[in-house]
């Protein structure tokens, strides 16, 4: 196993631990050290830290319990679970943030020794013509495609076979949003389609 393969294996292991909710901050730091010199990763990580810090500050102001539930009527309420108006953000936020941040780090690093170059996030650019269809990049399991597969140049994680110009990309995004809207309306209130639709980014 080469050094790169060993490093990637360690990254995957750390990610897997985080996805399972078992990791701690040290593991994250180790992975982030691999992003040295990669400005976008560092900037993204800084944003997450700010969000986490803000949430933690808010949680500290409102109490440490993050999930507050109202038990059946008549039941005795433990002090920590007393229902209250508004949110009680706390330490729960940090672990999740770290998990998600790390996913981005791993995705960006790719299999090579240097991070893959990425274009400006909001600039639609034709994707490279690739010889083989690409599979989703592994985020905790085995990477399922070759090393060339992770050269992503679209604002979203486009992995493609065939040419996709800016006009076609916009048209496709419109249809993808329509699909997401239909899913929402057909979902009878399910949370998943709603989250996908609201999280969907429009191409400029």
């Amino acid at each position: 196993m080469t050094d790169d393969q060993k490093r990637e294996a360690r990254l995957r292991q750390a990610l897997s631990a985080l996805v399972d909710g078992e990791a701690h901050e040290l593991e994250v730091s180790q992975v982030l050290a691999k992003a040295k010199g990669h400005d976008e990763v560092k900037a993204r990580w800084a944003r997450y830290q700010l969000v986490s810090a803000a949430l933690q500050a808010r949680g500290a102001a409102q109490g440490a319990v993050t999930v507050a539930t109202t038990p059946p009527a008549g039941a005795a309420l433990p002090a920590a679970a007393t229902p209250r108006r508004g949110f009680g953000w706390g330490s729960f936020a940090l672990a999740a943030s770290l998990t998600l941040a790390l996913m981005v780090v791993l995705r960006t690093l790719g299999p090579g020794s240097e991070p893959a170059p990425r274009l400006a996030a909001l600039t639609p650019t034709p994707a490279p013509s690739l010889a083989v269809p690409l599979q989703p990049v592994a985020l905790g399991g085995e990477r399922s495609s070759g090393s060339a597969a992770v050269q992503i140049t679209m604002p979203r994680a486009w992995a493609s076979s065939g040419e996709l110009g800016p006009g076609a990309a916009r048209h496709l995004q419109t249809l993808m949003r329509r699909h997401a809207e239909l899913n929402l309306l057909d979902s009878a209130g399910s949370l998943v389609p709603a989250v996908r639709l609201v999280a969907h980014s429009e191409a400029p």
Binding site: T66, G162, T174, N183
Partner: protein, 320 residues
């Protein structure tokens, strides 16, 4: 492990579908989750992650009488919101045009319907773990073939609400993660949380449109469009057929959906791509008169399944 009594009670009150799973089974957990998502009042922060990044959202879920009120807001700058007030749905902050009302069907077979898992999937109980300091029961909904993704859910042991949900590639790698980062349960949000802005531009009334009978065979027969599908993934049914331009077909297996757009204007080159959980395939297919049509298949399925659906579309004479 037993399903939490409170959640199971809600599942029992939810209707006939709630009796499908044996007590303590994965199915019972999913039924309890579905009931909890509807019946509970909750507010939460959640993160939605794909391979290209993370979106932060805020969710407020409550009730007005028997109607569900819900507000889902992006927190990261795009200002998008989804506001649901019973049968009224507002999509706030979208930058481009809205769909015409006629193009918005409400099918009888809802998608992402976890309280009625189709046979194409296998439900298994996973480990009991801790998520964000809460005891959670993992439930795995794994596909029986490679034409669809898996869903792994971590349900709060006390309320059955989903603390984390991932969609996974058939080989096991997550392609999408949805996780609550904070969650407060039990108190109805104030009605002001669901106030409609004065200039709400995108109201989508939930009006049922044409949807075919559920059991129409595999592959399904189209009744409105002069096309036929030679293949769909096992378990996928025709949910809706929309004849307006561009014509649309809606296919689904109960959890995953695919939309097939059929457009007489051929504008884009063929392409096949996977954007997180969403596959998109553009193909050019000739109709019987020789005219080329642009076929675009979009759905939360692995790319090979979307490609095969696109390739399976053939013309039929309108008179036949």
């Amino acid at each position: 492990m037993k399903v939490p009594a409170f959640a199971f009670l809600m599942a029992a009150l939810a209707g006939p579908a709630a009796s499908a799973g044996a007590p303590g089974s994965g199915e019972a957990w999913l039924e309890a989750m579905t009931a909890a998502l509807r019946a509970q009042a909750y507010e939460g922060l959640l993160s939605y992650a794909r391979e290209d990044g993370v979106t932060e959202l805020r969710l407020i879920h409550g009730h007005h009488g028997s109607a569900i009120y819900e507000r889902l807001s992006r927190l990261d700058g795009e200002g998008k919101e989804l506001l649901r007030r019973g049968d009224e749905v507002y999509f706030l902050g979208a930058q481009d045009e809205s769909l015409s009302e006629a193009a918005l069907p409400l099918v009888r077979h809802p998608v992402a319907n976890f309280d009625a898992i189709p046979e194409s999937y296998e439900v298994r109980l996973g480990a009991r773990v801790t998520v964000g300091g809460r005891k959670a029961q993992q439930v795995r909904v794994d596909p029986r073939d490679s034409y669809r993704f898996a869903y792994h859910l971590w349900l709060d042991a006390e309320t059955a609400l989903p603390l984390r949900l991932t969609m996974n590639h058939p080989q096991g790698a997550p392609v999408e993660v949805m996780q609550f980062r904070a969650l407060a349960v039990g108190e109805e949000p104030p009605e002001a949380a669901f106030q409609v802005p004065d200039s709400a531009p995108h109201q989508h009334p939930l009006v049922p449109a044409f949807s075919p009978d559920a059991e129409v065979g595999t592959p399904p027969t189209l009744r409105r469009l002069p096309w036929r599908l030679a293949w769909v993934p096992p378990g996928f049914k025709l949910l809706a057929e929309i004849a307006e331009a561009p014509a649309m077909l809606r296919l689904g297996d109960g959890l995953a959906t695919v939309t097939v757009f059929i457009d007489a204007a051929v504008e884009d080159a063929p392409v096949a791509l996977q954007d997180g959980p969403t596959a998109a395939v553009v193909r050019h297919r000739p109709h019987c008169d020789g005219a080329a049509y642009q076929i675009t298949v979009i759905g939360e399925v692995p790319l090979p399944a979307a490609e095969r659906i696109a390739e399976s579309l053939h013309c039929t004479d309108a008179a036949s």
